[in-house]
């Protein structure tokens, strides 16, 4: 199939494969991610979805927002489920029971379902080499059950299981660098994207669909309930996230790292933290050390990424 041209005017003429009437909160970033992923290609797609906000709100008995075959099994096994579907498809094609139709297999899951609870099934599916793409929409906590910390929750964030108060000033650990962990699986394609740079995100999806084998895409998905922000700033924050290098846009193709969009000038991390209520306490005078530490961590990660890129 020829790659779909990514011109907004042309794309707008197409039909959405994710319908309105879903029940994600007003201004949620996750449906923007899903619609961009599905819009990037005309290939037939079959998806699995781990339990979480996206799954719970996109398919409520009789009402599904999905216009593609979609399956929900459990929280911990989205990757195992789609790897089974992919294997069955290959087997049926081999047996001559169905025709090869270039079907693409995708898993969607939140960060809790990816970094923590679904990690073993994700790691296993990647190691077995299934022809599938796993897409994590990372909103930085278990949002669907009321903002519990996950290993993707950034340092300092206030969540219901690491509440900022007298005992602790929010989360004391840095986030798990899952994108690099996935790259360490030696799979052919790993990337990080943001819906605020739709072109970059969709190019990555297109590229990944042309690669055989396991692919992993980590996409930042602002959540105004959990981040304690306004309902209108999901895209603005998803943009500041890469402008501050908190969420760099890069890909690792066959082990080679490439930063796909470098900010002209690296903005200070506080530009990302300040608009979010979950980091409010970090701006109290006694917590200044937290701002320093958060910035140092982002700087170190960014320097390492630049080095990886330079190493080729």
């Amino acid at each position: 199939m020829t790659t779909k041209p990514l011109r907004l005017k042309e794309l707008a003429k197409g039909e959405d494969r994710f319908a309105h009437g879903h029940r994600m909160c007003a201004g949620c970033g996750a449906p923007i991610v899903v619609k961009q992923v599905l819009m990037a290609t005309d290939y037939p797609i079959i998806a699995s979805n781990a339990t979480g906000c996206l799954e719970v709100s996109s398919c409520i008995q009789q009402f599904t927002a999905w216009k593609i075959p979609w399956i929900h099994s459990a929280f911990e096994n989205a990757a195992a489920t789609i790897s089974g579907v992919e294997t069955m498809y290959r087997s049926l094609v081999k047996q001559g029971k169905i025709e090869e139709q270039n079907v693409k297999f995708v898993s969607f899951a939140g960060d809790g379902g990816t970094y923590d609870i679904g990690f073993q099934s994700l790691s296993g599916a990647m190691e077995r080499g299934h022809d599938m793409m796993y897409i994590c929409y990372d909103n930085g906590a278990y949002m669907n059950t009321g903002i519990q910390r996950s290993s993707a929750t950034p340092f300092g964030a206030n969540t219901t299981t690491c509440p900022a108060g007298d005992a602790i000033p929010g989360k004391l650990q840095h986030r798990k660098d899952l994108t690099r962990i996935m790259a360490a699986h030696g799979i052919p394609y790993v990337a990080q994207a943001s819906p605020a740079n739709w072109m970059d995100l969709m190019k990555k999806v297109q590229k990944a669909f042309e690669i055989k084998g396991p692919k992993f895409l980590n996409v930042i998905a602002p959540c105004n309930r959990g981040w304690r922000t306004k309902t209108d700033d999901a895209i603005t924050l998803a943009k500041i996230a890469f402008e501050t290098c908190y969420w760099p846009l890069f890909e690792i193709e066959n082990g080679v790292t490439k930063i796909t969009s470098k900010p002209k000038e690296k903005k200070p991390l506080v530009d990302f933290l300040k608009p979010q209520g979950r980091f409010k306490h970090m701006f109290a005078p006694e917590n200044e050390w937290m701002l320093v530490q958060a910035q140092e961590y982002v700087d170190a990660q960014w320097e390492r990424l630049l080095k990886d890129e330079a190493a080729g």
Binding site: G21, I60, T236
Partner: protein, 98 residues
């Protein structure tokens, strides 16, 4: 959509109609309402691309049409991201019912 009893539902919680969520109108969630000012619109389609609720209508020629108020939840993302013409926004948010 009429409610079904469990005996009438397909087995295994299978939903057979793709995109049936369209029967559930989320427009009633809105407390703020976007207004499109066509003369300031440069047809960039950012609002369409970023709307989480697929609530910006498009004509057959791929041009921006009005909002779909049956589904728009009034989040305001479209208004915030709209570049408009010469700094004049083509989308403004107003209180619902005003």
């Amino acid at each position: 959509m009429s409610k079904k009893f469990w005996e009438e539902l397909p087995q295994g919680s299978v939903v057979l109609e793709a995109g049936s969520s369209a029967k559930f109108k989320t427009g009633s969630w809105r407390s703020m309402r976007p207004r499109w000012i066509e003369e300031n619109c440069i047809q960039c389609m950012f609002c369409w691309m970023y709307c989480p609720d697929m609530s910006v209508k498009v004509t057959e020629e791929g041009k921006r049409a009005d909002f779909d108020f049956e589904y728009c939840k009034g989040c305001g993302i479209c208004a915030l991201e709209c570049p408009g013409k010469k700094g004049n926004k083509a989308i403004v948010m107003e209180g619902e019912g005003n």
